[in-house]
């Protein structure tokens, strides 16, 4: 049976591969910070800033272990006290407002069982946040994710697409963060799916990220943009900050459990902007994008 060492090692390689692929397209390499967690484990945070394509991008690997606080044990409804958590998180803020922001995460969590076997599960997802929604890109993006899912289980895409719509939502703005994607959590091995099968799915998600984003980059990298587009990009990045600091569970958990702040907050954009009560012009591309930031849109045209 697959064990946490193999999963960890695969995640570490995934980080290397993503940095290498995105770094090649950008022309600039990701930096590398290794850090150790006092209470057990550590990580490698790789960040690229002021690249040709990527204004700020981060790919973080971590593998940490320790004792779960009582309140988290209760919230997770598990018995074991010793946990192990590993994952890769990545986020890219491009220079061009014509290229979308993207986020990907794959993670594995297990606890030692005190009475019987402990808990084990996978989680993850990919979601896209265009500054300007391009419906053709949205279709390719969602169809690719659907294909990635379908190979493993036909029920995954519809379920995880809805989960992403619900998760990446900003209630106080009544807007989704972007055009969604897939999101899943607590995929536990059971009679239908072995841990190996779940891991194969998670691997497919992780591996699909770089080629998919590179396709979107190449399709849009030569589009012109002006100050008006840049201003809108900074406003959309402001929404990204609002989502991450107010609602994102990973960010909240990291900050509350005294995680490495710079690794947690590498997801924040290089620059962002807030204007009071900004309303886009009627019939503008900005207004059109706002109207598409809602749940339940069938982007792939196949659900």
């Amino acid at each position: 049976m697959i064990n946490k060492e193999e999963i960890t090692s695969w995640f570490k390689t995934l980080q290397e591969n993503i940095c290498s692929q995105i770094g090649t397209v950008d022309g600039r390499n990701f930096g590398r910070d290794e850090w150790i967690r006092e209470k057990g484990g550590g990580g490698i945070t790789r960040v690229l800033q002021n690249g040709e394509i990527i204004e700020k991008g981060g790919v973080a690997f971590s593998a940490v272990s320790g004792t779960l606080p009582e309140n988290i044990k209760k919230a997770l409804n598990i018995s074991g006290s010793e946990f192990y958590a590993t994952g890769v998180s990545c986020i890219m803020h491009p220079v061009s407002p014509m290229i979308p922001i993207i986020h990907m995460n794959v993670r594995y969590f297990e606890t030692s069982g005190e009475n019987g076997p402990g808990a084990k599960w996978f989680g993850g997802g990919i979601d896209l946040t265009p500054h300007y929604v391009n419906q053709e890109d949205a279709k390719v993006f969602h169809r690719t994710l659907q294909h990635v899912c379908d190979v493993h289980d036909k029920s995954y895409y519809p379920e995880f697409k809805k989960w992403a719509d619900d998760y990446f939502y900003i209630p106080h703005r009544k807007e989704t963060r972007g055009i969604g994607g897939i999101f899943f959590d607590k995929l536990v091995p059971n009679e239908k799916k072995s841990i190996e099968q779940l891991f194969e799915f998670v691997k497919s998600v992780g591996e699909s990220f770089a080629p998919l984003y590179i396709h979107i980059i190449n399709k849009n990298r030569n589009l012109n943009f002006n100050d008006q587009h840049k201003k809108w990009q900074l406003l959309r990045r402001g929404r990204y900050v609002e989502f991450n600091l107010v609602y994102d569970k990973g960010t909240k958990f990291g900050l509350e459990t005294d995680g490495r702040t710079e690794s947690i907050l590498m997801s924040l954009p290089p620059k962002a902007q807030w204007l009071y009560d900004f309303v886009p012009e009627k019939l503008s591309l900005e207004e059109e994008t706002l109207e598409l930031l809602r749940k339940g849109i069938d982007w792939s045209g196949t659900v």
Copy 2:
């Protein structure tokens, strides 16, 4: 006995006075948005953007009423269900990094009693967030607040100064938001202080704000600054965003109770920046400021 109508009316006038005083110094007037709350009450939000001195500043008045949700009643430990809340909040993000960000709030809250009299209390505070700490300004700022407090009660300044240090703190950065000031909440009338006396104190706090900030503006408005200073300002504004979205109770409460988003988030800076793992140069003014962002500094030199 003073009633909520008189308090509300005074708060409304305070908003007008602050906008008039700051607007005169800036040379540009605050805009004005009146809004109505579906469930009862409403407010006036006044914002100035792209001024000569103020890049983005807001002064918000609101007076809302309604029925308290059970969980909030419990959290506040009060019996009455019908509440009335009024206040003025203001925040200024200056153009120049040599002028500090400032925040002031005064508020009044009461509930109808079901058995016996309801709850009534005042809260408020003023705190300063310099991009570059100037110890002389810090001294004047704290001494002024101390004087404002001392006139009403000698115990106020030491207590409320400590409260501000504890409240305006960013745990994940291990930094205070700025150099603090005063913060107080749930000042209830009792045998020592009548509601009139408490109101007089709150009035003094509200009235001290504009002249104090204008003094600091005028002292620093002609200082030169360059791109390096601007960059640091945007980074410090990033911290301001982190505090407001992750920790500020007023912001959280507003967003959770479906308040008017644009009025709640008018406190966010016009532009902000996040760089991965930015560390200021040794012995720089930026490093010196960072070292002064901690609790327990006796800025007034008199505690």
